[in-house]
């Protein structure tokens, strides 16, 4: 079906599925099919921040004092974070927007991606402070084999969904031969690709980000690179919200609260969804090996980081009904919770009293006795 930027059909958005229904026409938020996305938009906007607000100048001094193996951990970690947000800053928009059918999810996706671009900007802010000219760091992201391997794993589900959506939009359902390769496009295959892609995004937001957060906060635990850690705290608060949204989408499908065909697919492809998660766990463990190849740092090594991956995977997988495959009960990095807690995120002064200061900042309630003390 051809995409239209303003669908002229007078459809009822409350009856549309989240994906693959009619394209969205009026961006209205007075009524919602799934009100959770409207709430997430409000929450996310209330979190607005700018990287320049955080002073990272002391990090430069700290960085010079790090050992070579610690520098490798810090920089590789930052490169990986840059890669993740480079992908997330564009992909939800390109992959999901053309097939979304309800306005609140459309705007949530745009808000979500926009915040990922803030994260990308903050990596430049951090690196510019450390190196003056960070070009060599950025160019290594597309040259370093370890990073490229991660990039390929993450982007393949997005790319597959995007390509099939393009085929469907231009040629419709059917068997199409493109450059000698046969592609069978049906609504069912599109939905399967969407389901797998959403699971891959969920695993990215659920595990991949948290491995990198653990490394950042391990430096902060030693009172090193604290400017960087302040920025990553703000990023982790946003990522928590993004994770909530993908968990909601997956659960809405699985519980049959949206498109009934997606409920079928969720059941049929449960094992594949589980494999996507377990693959992400294995890849992150492999990444931990690369990070610590030259030596560990105080407070964190390959073994502890791998245990944390398993611990967090148990939590995240049970949230979307995939069970708890790993035999680990206690959090091996208990201090992580102090950094992931929004109470500890330093906010701008105007925000310190009420975190959602963008809404309802004016008290407009006036009672009849408010002027009692005045005399004329």
């Amino acid at each position: 079906m051809k995409y239209t930027t303003f669908n002229q059909k007078n459809n009822d958005p409350l009856l549309e599925p989240m994906f693959f229904g009619n394209p969205v026409n009026v961006a209205r938020y007075d009524q919602q099919k799934h009100s959770i996305f409207e709430k997430l938009i409000e929450k996310q906007i209330s979190f607005f921040w700018r990287p320049e607000e955080v002073d990272v100048s002391k990090d430069r001094v700290d960085f010079q004092k790090l050992s070579d193996s610690e520098k490798h951990i810090f920089i590789s970690n930052l490169k990986y974070q840059t890669l993740l947000d480079s992908i997330q800053g564009r992909s939800p928009n390109i992959a999901f927007l053309p097939i979304i059918s309800i306005p609140e999810l459309e705007t949530w996706t745009e808000t979500w991606s926009f915040f990922e671009t803030i994260h990308s900007r903050s990596y430049t802010h951090i690196l510019r402070n450390l190196f003056g000219d960070p070009s060599s760091i950025f160019s290594d992201i597309v040259e370093n084999e370890e990073i490229k391997k991660r990039a390929a794993d993450i982007s393949k589900y997005y790319d597959d969904l995007i390509f099939y959506t393009q085929l469907w939009q231009t040629l419709g359902e059917g068997t199409h031969t493109i450059h000698g390769e046969k592609h069978i496009v049906t609504m069912r295959t599109l939905k399967i690709k969407l389901f797998l892609c959403m699971n891959s995004v969920n695993a990215l937001e659920a595990i991949r980000f948290y491995v990198s957060f653990a490394c950042t906060f391990a430096f902060a635990e030693r009172e090193l690179m604290e400017g960087n850690s302040k920025i990553i705290r703000l990023i982790s608060r946003d990522e928590n919200l993004h994770l909530t949204s993908t968990q909601h989408i997956l659960n809405l499908w699985a519980k049959g609260k949206d498109d009934p065909e997606m409920a079928d697919i969720a059941l049929e492809f449960r094992d594949q969804a589980r494999d996507i998660f377990l693959d992400a766990v294995a890849q992150e463990k492999e990444w931990a090996g690369y990070l610590f190849k030259n030596g560990s740092m105080i407070g964190l090594n390959k073994e502890i980081l791998c245990q944390y991956v398993e611990f967090i995977a148990n939590h995240r997988m049970s949230a979307i009904g995939l069970g708890q495959p790993f035999d680990i009960k206690n959090n091996p990095l208990p201090w992580m919770n102090n950094y992931l807690n929004s109470d500890n995120v330093q906010v701008a002064p105007q925000e310190s009293e009420i975190s959602s200061y963008l809404v309802g900042q004016i008290d407009s309630e006036v009672g009849s006795n408010d002027f009692d003390e005045f005399e004329l």
Binding site: K39, N330, N341, S342
Partner: protein
């Protein structure tokens, strides 16, 4: 009368119970103050790290929970018991 929070642990073959009295701002604080390990991140009801299984009783929310919670689950960081409750550790 103080509300009671009964925490059931299934770590070993025999389930064991611990009863706490609730005199806290929220359920998470009550668990943490009694040295019961409970995972938490945001403490604002949007991350879902403190999802807890509610076995018996009812709770009220102090704010609108945004995180996904399944039927029979509660978010410890932003709820208060409405009477005696039993939860899974």
């Amino acid at each position: 009368m103080c509300k009671k929070v009964t925490v059931v642990k299934y770590d070993s073959d025999i389930p064991c119970e611990q009863t706490l009295s609730f005199a806290h701002n929220n359920l998470l604080d009550c668990l943490l103050n009694n040295n019961i390990a409970k995972e938490y991140h945001c403490k604002e009801g949007f991350c879902g790290a403190c999802r807890t299984e509610l076995i018996e009783g009812h709770v009220e929310y102090l704010l609108d929970p945004l995180a996904y919670i399944d039927d029979g689950e509660i978010l410890a960081c932003c709820c208060k018991p409405l009477g005696d409750i039993t939860i899974k550790a």
